[in-house]
Amino acid sequence: MDQITITQLKESHRLLTEFKYAVQPVVHGYANRTLYINLDSNTITIKPVDQKMKDTFTGGKGFCLWLLWNAINSDTKWDDAQNELVVAGGPIGGITAYPGSGKCTVVTLSPLTKSIIDSNSGAYFGPYLKFSGFDALEVQGKAKEDVVIFIDGDNGTVSIEAAPLDEVNTHLLSKQLTDLYGGETDKGKRAISVMSAGQAAEHVPMCGVNVSYWDSRRQEIRIKQAARGGAGTVLRNKRIKAIVVKYSDTGGDSNGAANMELIRAAGKRINKEISDFDASQNDMRHLGTPYLVEIMNKFNILPVQNFRFGSDPEASKINGEVWKSMFDFRGPDGCWYGCSLQCAHAVPHYHLQSGPYKGEAVFVDGPEYESLGALGSNLGIFDPPAMLELCFYCDTYGIDTISAGNSMAFAYECYEKGILDQQKTGGLELTWGNAEAAYELLHQMARGEGFGVTVGQGVRVMKSLFAEQYGADPQQLQDMGMEIKGMEISEYISRESLAQQGGYAMASKGPQHDEAWLIFMDMVHKQLPTFEAKAEALHYFPVWRTWFSLHGLCKLPWNDIIPVSNKTAKEPAKVPEHVENYCWLYEGLSGKKTSPEDLMAQSEKVYNFQRLFNVKMGFGTRQHDYPPYRLIGPATVEEYENRKDLYDTQLREIIGVDPDGKSVEEKIRLVRQHRENQYEQLMDAVYLRRGWTKNGIPTQATLQRLGIDFPEAMAISAAHGG
């Protein structure tokens, strides 16, 4: 097929509406306005941001949640026109003096969990949106035809354009729109960020959004993902092909900081540390997150064959050193200006082996650790080219690699157990290590046909289908289906870390590690020996990690580089020197004296508000905070036998039962009884520490303490026994 020219593309765009506004400078990190777009009526308006909104919700994810709260009802469904896609950067986001400051967060009602989802991405969208004049963007309604939304911060216009000929898949669409709106120069292209999904988002609920930026050194479009929970599916359900933001004038003080010196001091300190120590620590600048593969494998935490096992001798074939030899180091790898951590690596000139672009040489962003776990070890695939193939197609089709990998792994295990066969899979042989079958499942998701569409519905839907249609044992499916709240679990085996089990299962959005990653603290460094210590960690870390998404910041510079001062720190896991950096950033931005407690207070409000929002939507109670048993303990004989010595020792020394002479099934039952009981006790301890009822509801006293005690919130809490 002949590729459409930019001239033809431009001529094909038909203006549906245009809105003009005066671009105002950002003051102390805020544009003080949000942008509202309704696709039913093609109306565009601006909403003010008042001081109360800033004091209560801070920005970023907090603003997104508040705007969505006011836009939908408790009975709104994800595919109702009333549902919104809400996007925001954050007050600190967009600074260039501190690494990892270009994030944006996407919030919506999820087609996967049916409740509130937030997911964040790097690249330039968040800062450009704010510099164009908006702290957040709400899109409501559904277009009658495929559209592109264009926010032009250079000229103060927002337009909705019919876009009939634009591509849908990200690697082509991002290029088209960067050329169309950015022109031919590097400066013009650098001013563009495109948010898009892909073909699969029209057919399956597990699609995220891709966010682009122009890499002028390599002359390539680069993409990062807000992959989790289905925001891309919502995007396409609204018939949006892309949202484009343009801003050309980014500078060191585009945020209107009150005290740039303080911000620069924080930046100087962290940048020196990264320069001095990254190569001695995780070498993020050369390995990126794939360095984790080898370490997770070493500690039995790497998911192998649908989370049954925690290590595999072949894991070294996809570890960090392998990717280091393949990554393109022709230019910097920061996904926002000024990021010295430089972890956003990519592989150039990969020749596709399958699908609609077979034979073409493409530029593949990543792979990241999570994708290697989900699409690699978890499927028994340890082949670097296969990783690139799967990552490329997941990205361009808009599919979340974690949900796709876990869903395919679930199907592969069902195939192994005889629940599925080739007749049911449309001829696909779902055997461990079969990469071609995985390719085809992705292509089917994109085409909207075949067994891939079933897999693309996610693990929760497959569990119901396979029980109802194929007579599979629902309990067996529940134990081995690696999802919580309807979302697939990210790529860490938590069986030997009770705290991480809670970190996953009690996370508001669903089991994503960005809310609490406690495995090493708990299992390896043994810093959380009691329920109280675990509960404290499950209070502090989820709240603290939430703070990054309030501000448009990346978490990695917080604890993927460790300062020398940690040697004498009282609580090294919190990385106090870096928390002080963040105090300096906020103080430098706002001009207000800022303590670590102030930062925590910002987060705790939003964290509890999100929980309450889940309750409003019919979720967010204790019954929704349980993991599948395989996350807690060995669910099958083969899993027990794989670590028999460990479990036998635990039976003898912790549970007080002599394993000798007992069948494996009996030992599994005894271990399960003990571990499930431990998990119940953990829930009680965590809820108590968070100021929630035993049913997981934030109490009215908690809401009052946090200043989120407005009438509707109090009524929801009261109605659920809070």
């Binding site: 001695s280 070493k298 070294s316 650790y369 990653w517 978490k555 993927d560 460790i562």
Partner: protein, 82 residues
């Protein structure tokens, strides 16, 4: 990865400790010194040593724990996860 090697055998004398082994490794692979030692010549805060899978810092005698024949040591950077 130890300066290009994934593992190396260590011959230690009776009664020597985890810390002795740490410095023995540095004698064998001097390229690691700038990565593992601080300016006072002591182990950097971010180098974690594991003895047979256990964080040596969590053992009763910490880095002074005595080694036995066949023990396995791992040297791991600070791991923070996603």
């Amino acid at each position: 990865m130890l300066a290009g090697k994934n593992s190396l055998p260590l011959e230690m004398e009776n009664g020597q400790s985890v810390l002795d082994a740490f410095f023995r490794v540095l004698e064998m692979v001097p390229a690691l010194k700038p990565h593992w030692l601080d300016h006072e010549g002591q182990p950097h805060v971010f180098v974690h040593v594991f003895l047979n899978g256990d964080d040596a810092a969590t053992l009763p005698d910490g880095l002074n724990t005595k080694l036995n024949d066949g023990d396995c040591l791992d040297f791991i950077p600070p791991v923070a996860g996603g």
